[in-house]
Point group: C2
């Protein structure tokens, strides 16, 4: 089983609010159709949820945020998720939306039996699709749960063979200005100036990846603009990207 994160920057145009890169999404999804293994998909918020959460100053910290902002972030993620669901459906997959609110309780704790359900869904010829979202917490607070964080939460319980982060860059860079790629992240330090793809920047992303790696799950960062590299990573062929194992 493989868990794949479609980063916000690769599925949307972060430079322009509420725009998707439909052609890019379709090409990635078509390539994933050639994968014989079961997959679970997570996607980010990009110029939808991520854009609005910045606009309304909403973060990963549970707080009383503006109700209108909460509604806009949540609705925009339904919108983006629908586009992703459609792309998978049109390509011949049987996508099955599984929002993060399904498997996180009111105290922010993962619900193990719900996450195991996701594994069963994936084994039944369906593709569970989840996404970064605004979630509710008790005492009328809410918070942003990023797609990257979901990768770690799911990996801990599902124990996939691989966890793949699909980026809008070749991988993780040690020097962003020079686009110096880190092939093996284990000992090298990422350049924190690297354009971030997520809630909290590249440091948080690498931190999630390291947590996944400690579960004995191989982690890949690959460029979604070159979908063949995703397949190479899955098939354990030499590929351009960043590996953490």
């Amino acid at each position: 089983m493989i868990i794949i994160k479609l980063g916000g920057s690769i599925i949307t145009n972060k430079q322009k609010s509420l725009t998707v890169k439909l052609n890019r999404i379709n090409k990635i999804v078509e390539k994933l159709k050639t994968v014989k293994e079961e997959i679970i998909i997570i996607h980010g918020g990009g110029s939808f949820g991520h854009y609005w959460s910045l606009k309304y100053n909403m973060h990963t910290k549970p707080m009383k945020y503006n109700s209108h902002g909460i509604s806009i972030v949540k609705n925009s993620m339904v919108e983006l998720n629908k586009i992703i669901l459609n792309a998978f459906f049109k390509t011949g997959f049987n996508p099955y939306v599984f929002p993060a609110s399904n498997f996180i309780n009111v105290h922010g704790i993962p619900i193990i039996e719900k996450i195991l359900e996701m594994k069963e869904i994936s084994k039944s010829g369906l593709v569970p699709i989840s996404y970064g979202d605004v979630l509710w917490r008790y005492k009328r607070r809410s918070y942003i749960l990023s797609g990257d964080r979901i990768m770690t939460i799911l990996s801990k319980i599902i124990k996939p063979r691989l966890a793949i982060f699909i980026l809008n860059e070749d991988g993780i860079y040690s020097n962003f200005a020079k686009k110096k790629l880190i092939y093996k992240l284990n000992n090298e330090k990422p350049d924190i100036k690297m354009i971030n793809d997520s809630t909290g920047g590249i440091e948080r992303k690498c931190n999630e990846a390291k947590q996944i790696q400690t579960l004995n799950v191989k982690v890949f960062f690959v460029n979604g603009n070159k979908p063949n590299r995703i397949i190479d990573a899955i098939n354990n062929v030499r590929f351009v990207g960043t590996l953490l194992e």
Copy 2:
């Protein structure tokens, strides 16, 4: 607090697959904007989820249904739900999608703390919106959970002041051919030939209503084509429709 069910027949055109009655939806939502009380919305599947579940022979009984059918039903409900969310958003509400999969566990049992969360969301200036859907059950089975059933599940825990079923008819009829309306359902028998609005026909709908009424919640059936009647029912003014108390 008021829980309102928008029946599949009033929000979609059941005669034609995948068609919404957008004008009808907008008029109802605009009228609901005048309500001062907190509301929770449930909607049915109509010519979206209901249509596809019939086509793929999927029922309320947990079974191993066709994966493609499961995916189509679920995706079509995301589609219909998005239209409902948009209608509420455009009218000035802050809608907050709360899928049934959030508050039902893998054994089909309601998760009380999640349902109470829905109440808190409603009290925070947001409008929780849920809908009939295909849900996952352990042992790789799935089943249809109707919007009507959700009305009962939520009422038991949330204990609203009113539960309102918005239909495409004046209310419940004792004689469907003659459109003889039952004003008080308590002692009269509905005509089972009445066009059904839900999973399982008018008998099941009345059965859910009776379960809600035993919780000391007043239940109304009103015609969504005359949105004023919804307001009359809420304001306890003499109205055309069916009452169960």
